[in-house]
Amino acid sequence: MNLDLLPLALADGFSYAGLLFLVALGLTLIFGVMGILNVAHGALYAFGGYAAASLVQFIMSRGDPPSILLVAALFVAALIVGVALGCLLEVGLLRRVQDKDPILQLLITFGAFLILDDLQQLIWGGSPYTASEVSGRLGTIELFGVTYTVYQLLLIPIVALCAYGLLQYFLRHTRIGRQVIAVTHNAEVATALGIHAKRIRLITFIVGAILGALGGALSVPTTSLVPGVGTDMIVLSFSVVATAGLGQITGALIAALMIGMARSLAVYTFPEFEVVVPYLIMVLVLLIRPYGLFTVAQARKI
């Protein structure tokens, strides 16, 4: 591969990493605060996407809307799905298994994932859904002699970076954010200090769910939604989260970039390895650093 293809590969990897980061962010946030690896995150991604596609199609059928409205519709759909499903899952299921074995907690989210997967197929059917008009309206941009869509090259990475920035600000400079950090470090002590841990967990789960759904909603204008996207996305986001270290937000950003770039480089050099790359990276990282790249040392209780 000649070196002038390298910036192209990086540009492609950048936009792919953006989507990956949004989904992984939700996942790692939930794990950090609640200690649960949420398998149902894949279903949140899928529901977010389908809801966004339906909303966009609904708006388009009512005349010729401005592009800004269509893009806003994606966020609105993600918000609705995140809040609704997030509340349902947290209050209905996760609260009841708060004190059980982590494996049982994980399996209950797996059960929820299975239910939501079938529900999604019952509601929206098996045929592909897309909303390519949205990205078509935003036009194209040329970079290094290759045409990219503005949506993919600029919008998605910008949204991902904004989400990262907003979340960091929220965690560090708002009261609720600091309470979230406190609950992450030690829920018992935080409760003893008067923090309403139950409410914090609910809020965190909803934020995580919204991020997952947003990942799905933003993917609709460029790709298409079919049954099985949730299942594929969840393992990919696991690989990002595990590579970064569970609960590490900045780590997730770097890991997503790493995996995104590696994957697109693979398409340019050894296309047959494209699908293997994320998992290969995860295995290699875990073999060298068993707890992920960026974990902080934890005290061990004997």
Partner: protein, 437 residues
């Protein structure tokens, strides 16, 4: 040792009893003849498979109203190919192993055909391959119960190559982006070998095989844009092709390279304006609702109207393939009944009939060969936008007879392809039609 042979004898008895029905000569006429039809009902390929289901339902309803096969009505059971590899096989087996006579109509995916063909042969159930293209099934082995009522990858890719060389003979660079499974790999292998036999100095700049059912081709498109091939070939179909063309169109790739899409007739209506003019499109057979020879014939015209009324869309080539398979089965049974002096035939007799049959679907007739392979003429054209339809129609249509572009019985396609020379193109049987509206 006596124990072992007793066990063996018992097993053979059980097996013999199980196989008994197919021994008889004169069968009892069944009340209904169930058809086990497999098609894609979920996933990206369902945009392709669901019209096939609609076509089957429509055709069977009409056929039963006219009396069925000698009074025996047909019924259909649909199996979803979207279940994937072994789950699909389990379902196929479940239907094929049910007691009673049946005909299996399977499959769309070449991968699934590869899987079910030996199973059907093993179970001695007639299996009509109605849409899959891989030529290897009938070339590598002589099947008794497995036939194909349409053309195979060799015929289709040769037709594509002929059209491409007649349209743009002087291209120097080509790239391919196919789905990563039997059809995608086999179709490229044939095309590449034939092309290199006729134009040895062509440069293949990229060979990309994204996975079947992929939803995002952005990186592949970037790479293709950077490499700037003159021709881009893709034998993708269904939702995969739709997504690829939409993404490529948004980024201008469809304008900078000549797209050759031998299976795109099935996507014309869905893609609408995403396809620019001048794209070479094939119909896997001569299946097109505006077929220059048959579009005004009452049988064809009526079916198009009925299909449109039922589904809201124009029929695409999977619809035609399904009708052809069903017509073939009906013709096979009727021919076998005649040969059996009016008695209902056995599965063996029908299977034998299917190996030397000529029947007609909605377009040109299909001739079945002794190896079970159907000879089906191929239609190709270029896209052209017209005010009458919200999607492009095919212009500069060429219909190529199958006999000119298919290896003879018994000859394997890799060897046949290597023997091709540029003189092959000047065959006068390639029929072109004046630019249609």
């Amino acid at each position: 040792m006596a124990k072992a042979s007793l066990f063996k004898v018992l097993c053979s008895l059980v097996a013999a009893v199980g196989v008994f029905p197919s021994w008889s000569w004169a069968q009892d006429k069944p009340a209904t003849l169930p058809l086990g039809i497999t098609t894609f009902l979920t996933g990206p390929a369902s945009v392709f498979g669901i019209p096939g289901k609609a076509a089957a339902e429509l055709w069977i309803e009409q056929f039963n109203a006219k009396g069925g096969i000698d009074g025996v009505k047909l019924s259909a059971v649909f199996i979803d190919e979207g279940l994937g590899g072994d789950k699909f096989l389990t379902e196929y087996r479940r239907v094929a192993q049910e007691t009673g006579e049946k005909v299996m109509v399977s499959a769309i995916s070449s991968g699934n055909c590869n899987t079910v063909a030996p199973v059907a042969e093993d179970l001695k159930v007639l299996n009509v391959m109605w849409d899959c293209g891989t030529e290897k099934i009938l070339e590598d082995r002589r099947y008794k119960y497995v036939v194909r009522t349409q053309a195979n990858a060799v015929t289709e890719m040769m037709a594509t190559l002929v059209y491409l060389l007649k349209t743009k003979a002087d291209f120097k660079t080509i790239a391919v982006i196919n789905q990563d499974y039997a059809w995608g790999r086999d179709s490229w292998e044939i095309f590449r070998n034939a092309m290199l036999a006729m134009k040895p100095d062509t440069k293949i700049v990229a060979e990309l095989f994204p996975k079947f059912g992929a939803v995002d081709f952005s990186t592949e498109i970037s790479r293709l844009q950077a490499l700037k091939p003159e021709v881009i070939l893709s034998t993708s179909w269904g939702g995969d092709l739709d997504t690829f063309v939409r993404q490529a169109s948004q980024r201008g790739l469809t304008k900078s390279s000549l797209f050759v899409l031998p299976l795109a007739e099935s996507s014309l209506e869905r893609l609408g304006t995403a396809l620019p003019d001048g794209v070479i499109v094939g119909a896997r057979g001569d299946h097109y609702f505006l077929h220059p020879e048959t579009k005004d014939e009452p049988k064809h015209k009526e079916f198009v109207e009925k299909f449109r009324a039922k589904t809201g869309n124009y029929p695409i080539y999977p619809v035609y393939h399904m009708v052809a398979a069903l017509e073939g089965i009906a013709a096979g049974y009727q021919s076998a009944i005649k040969r059996n002096n009016g008695q209902w035939p056995s599965t063996d007799q029908v299977a034998a009939e299917m190996h030397n049959l000529k029947f007609q679907g909605l377009t040109r007739p299909v001739q079945m060969r002794e190896d079970g392979q159907g000879l089906e003429d191929q239609l190709l054209g270029v896209t052209k936008k017209v005010p009458e339809y919200p999607f492009p129609i095919l212009d500069k249509i060429m219909i190529i007879p199958a006999s000119t572009i298919t290896p003879p019985v018994g000859e394997k396609s890799p060897e046949w392809v290597k023997k091709l020379t540029p003189a092959f193109l000047s065959n006068d049987q390639f029929k072109t039609f004046a630019s249609s509206k």
